[in-house]
Amino acid sequence: MNVTLTVNGTEHTLDVPDNTLLVDVLRGQLGLTGTHVGCDTSQCGACVVHLNGDAVKSCTVLAGQADGAAVTTIEGIGSPDDLHPMQAAFRDNHALQCGFCTPGMIMSAIDLVQKSEGLDEQAVREGLEGNLCRCTGYHNIVKAVLAAQQNMAQGGN
């Protein structure tokens, strides 16, 4: 089956088997390996990307369901020289250790901050319910999201 996806601003038309997951298209066919897979029950959030502006688990979306959609992955939000404020906040607050949960965590956090105002610590913790991190104890992730909220409000993305 053919699907057309606009990934990080570039349109791709790809021929994929009907049972292909979006995450496999991203990682396998497009080589965007920043999106990770950490579970098989749709719970860890390592695979989170934005689909038409919403954070979704790319391991639980079929390529066909995403046909015609715009997808943004961790590779599409900033680069080492031009970080998204959320990426910068993660670095500045040491919100990552092994880095495996980080892309999904950042994509979730951006969606969370973009869709809510005046998040406090508790709201951030609840908002990140769908993302597991085994390294950081979440302490610095929460700090980073709160810091990024400020920066994003002040004109960043």
């Binding site: 029950t41 092994c98 880095g99 495996f100 104890g137 979440y138």
Partner: protein, 782 residues
């Protein structure tokens, strides 16, 4: 120059640039031309004989490249997976190590044990092939309950009573005598719950075989690629050591579970040689649950003898430790040398006797998981101490102070084989109490009470032994490997530096902290230092990362290498400046001749070493690259005070951790930001053990908590923000004065949480994890 990115600075991490932009390279991100995919067929039974495996239909499945059973590996000379530490029983006999073929041959002994391997052109083909295998199992009754495991069916032919060993430590007679004169004895039965490690990156492997060179390359998620290589070469016979390269690229967390040499990685690299095709395997999370080595799982009876004034007189501990179905790589050492030796805790208990019986059960192998033995020991000691205080009506912190080893007592020899070099336990406790506002706790408790909640506070003053050492002592106690670390400092021609370390970072930030050491010692700008790790093709043989050893052992090796660089640099500089080498000092990144204004920069000396125009070639080799091995003379002893405050909703049993304070003494600190992060992560795991996490098998040996649907991982909203602080007594015997911080959070916290919950409920004990239903029932007096 204590450079601004030197030791002690909260430098932002080098590794982050790639991780926050999605440019990390983890094993599953790699691929090789023509790669195939492996799928393991796993036992659905906890215990069964394999009567027959019919592979015909699997082999005939579309897209299947090959099907291998345990018999195929065995026929090819592939050996058993060994255990690296030989523990001896009380009677002097060696522990019994049952055969552990990577792929089961005659019998399966836990649910999830692989019994065949299917290689497919695609993952789907491999899965289809695995499903097409037809296996005739003869099911046998499973041994699951640990407490009774010595008295039920025998799992392995060679292991009577399912007993691996029956070990002891300490002076039994002296301890018995201490109990005889006790004024009070506190007795407890303690179950330390089984945990499943759950690094968020599942294990993975990509095996490749170069037929022309006859060499194998294995990319895998290992914490210690050299160990993997050694075991695969020397014990498992996959390939000669020289023909096997093991590379751990970016690794997404380990917590111990990625130390071990497992069936899957072994089979993948072997199969790559057999099929002459690259073979890739990535665990699905359900496989991680079933087949990663689990942690903890002890049943213990412990007793503490006290004098009338609260002085500890003696401690007696009897533990049954679960090994699971086979001995994993370091399983035997965890409940013995990493557990029994820690029973003195921070106290001057004069007589201690520990007995540990390790038993096999039909469950996944159990091995080191963050803290490895030390959390279990801390849990025993700190639960006993807190309970004793309540029983004799003394404040729990006062009882601890009454018994602390004092700063003047160091070096302090414990009755359980360790010599603590330094510490100030009261300083940490004082600081923790100040942070937690202990004096105002009673008021907070009243406020909770008024709101229908129960508030409790609990303490845990833990000690740990890190950087397992020295090699000769460990080897005399049964270790099969040396415990040193290697560090290589290669000064580049232009004066930048490449460091190669044998330790490995899977979250610990080596690329940053090791660069800070170089920057501090050599005055080289932090940006100009690159740290390489995780590749047997790059570094000398070393032990990798476990047991909070990277900085204390790996960092020390690097310091030793920098000392050699400086010594050589001085000679070069002296020659270039026509001075006496003894008159050259190295400071702030330059070589200066004392009492003169002559000096050369580090870069100038480096350049001269590689372009030896004016250079004493007849006395000195060109180049500026040095390597050092460091074998520590002793463990390091991080210690600290953890305080937990909880609020319990007695109606539902929900426990909320409202405050958690950790004050730790890690000796000197290279990067406080990184250290705090390590503590946070450990605390989450320790709190997780106390309240959430539980690996549960049913009576037939089926894993009930086999996915994130049932195994409770700590999530952001389960935890509070933590208060983390430090005190400092530098380690006395390594050049950095550092102790290690990777496990402390997981070691100290669990007891503090349970002490707080039992305080809130006013009960002597509660089962772990203290889940809502457990708490609800306990609150009702059940």
């Amino acid at each position: 120059m204590a450079s601004q990115n030197g030791i002690g600075a909260a430098v932002k991490r080098k590794e982050d640039a790639r991780f926050i932009t999605g440019m990390g390279r983890y094993t599953d991100d790699l691929g090789a031309h023509g790669q195939t995919y492996a799928m393991f067929a796993r036992s659905p039974h906890a215990r069964a004989k394999i009567v027959n495996i019919d592979t015909a239909a699997a082999a005939a499945t579309d897209g299947v490249v090959a099907v291998f059973t345990g018999a195929d590996l065995k026929a090819d000379g592939i050996g058993d997976l060994p255990c690296g530490w030989l523990v001896k029983s009380k009677d002097g006999s060696d522990m019994i190590q049952p055969p552990h073929p990577p792929i089961a041959v005659d019998a399966v002994n836990y649910v999830g044990e692989p019994f065949a391997l299917v290689i497919g052109e695609t993952l789907a083909a491999a899965k289809n092939g695995a499903e097409a295998l037809s296996v005739d199992f003869e099911e046998l009754p499973a041994v699951v309950d640990l407490a009774s495991a010595a008295r039920t069916a025998q799992i392995h032919e060679t292991v009577p009573n399912n007993q691996c060993y029956d070990w002891e430590l300490g002076d039994k007679a002296a301890t018995d005598a201490a109990f005889e004169k006790a004024h009070h004895v506190t007795r407890m039965d303690i179950v330390n719950n089984r945990l499943i490690p759950n690094a968020i990156e599942p294990r993975a492997a990509l095996g490749e075989y170069d037929a022309a060179a006859g060499s194998h390359t294995l990319h895998t998620t290992s914490q210690n690629p050299h160990l993997e290589r050694l075991v695969l070469a020397a014990f498992v016979n996959v390939a000669p050591e020289a023909k096997l390269r093991v590379i751990s690229p970016d690794v997404g967390g380990g917590f111990g579970s990625k130390i071990f040499v497992y069936a899957e990685e072994t089979a993948v690299i072997w199969a790559a040689g057999k099929t002459r095709r690259p073979v890739k395997w990535t665990a699905e999370r359900s496989e991680s649950f079933l087949a990663d080595a689990h942690g903890r799982d002890h049943v213990t009876h412990a007793e503490l003898a006290l004098a009338e004034d609260g002085e500890f007189l003696g401690l007696r501990v009897q533990t049954i430790a679960n090994m699971g179905a086979y001995l994993s790589t370091f399983a035997s050492s965890v409940p013995t040398y990493l557990y029994g030796t820690l029973m003195a805790g921070q106290y001057k208990t004069p007589a201690i006797y520990v007995e540990v019986q390790s038993l096999f059960t039909n469950t996944a192998p159990v091995d080191a998981y963050r803290g490895a033995g030390r959390p279990e020991a801390t849990f025993v000691v700190e639960r006993l101490v807190e309970t004793a205080a309540r029983e004799i009506g003394m404040d729990a912190t006062d009882l601890r102070r009454r018994n602390f080893i004092q700063p003047t007592d160091f070096p302090y020899e414990t009755p359980v084989a360790l010599t603590y070099d330094t510490g100030d336990y009261e300083a940490s406790l004082d600081k923790a109490l100040a942070h937690v506002h202990y004096a105002a706790f009673a008021q907070r408790r009243d406020a909770s009470e008024a709101a229908g909640k129960k508030r409790g506070i609990g303490f845990s003053c833990y000690i740990e032994a890190c950087g397992l050492a020295p090699s000769q002592v460990a080897i005399s106690l049964g270790a099969g490997v040396g415990l040193f670390e290697v560090g290589e400092v290669r000064v580049d021609v232009t004066g930048s530096v490449t460091v190669v370390t044998g330790s490995h970072s899977h979250g610990q930030s080596h690329e940053t902290t090791f660069a800070q050491i170089i920057s501090e010692k050599l005055g080289v700008p932090f940006e100009n230092v690159t740290v390489l790790h995780g590749d047997t093709g790059r570094s000398d043989y070393a032990l990798g990362t476990y047991g909070s050893r990277s900085l204390a052992v790996g960092g020390s090796a690097i310091v030793k290498a920098t000392d050699k660089i400086i010594a050589k640099g001085k000679k070069i500089a002296a020659y270039m400046l026509d001075a006496n080498a003894d008159d050259v000092e190295f400071e702030d990144g330059s070589f200066n001749v004392t009492d003169s204004n002559q000096s050369l920069t580090f870069a100038e000396v480096a350049f001269a070493a590689y372009v030896p125009a004016k250079y004493p070639l007849d006395e000195l080799e060109p180049g500026l690259s040095e390597k050092a091995f460091y074998d520590p003379p002793n463990f390091t002893y991080p210690a600290g005070a953890h305080v937990c405050e909880v609020e319990v909703d007695p109606e539902t049993g929900v426990v909320e951790v409202v405050q958690f304070v950790a004050v730790d003494d890690f000796g000197n600190i290279v990067n406080p930001m990184v250290v705090e992060g390590q503590v946070h992560g450990g605390l989450a795991q320790g709190i997780g053990q106390a309240l959430l996490e539980h690996g549960v098998y049913d009576d037939t040996g089926q894993l009930l908590s086999g996915s994130y649907m049932d195994y409770t991982m700590p999530r952001a909203d389960d935890l509070p923000s933590f208060t983390v602080d430090t005190t400092t007594t530098p380690c006395t015997h390594n050049p950095l004065g550092v102790k290690g911080c990777g496990e402390a959070g997981a070691i100290g916290s669990t007891a503090a949480v349970i002490n707080a919950v039992t305080d809130a409920l006013g009960v002597a004990s509660i089962a772990m994890p203290a889940t809502p239903e457990t708490v609800w029932r306990t609150a009702r007096g059940e």
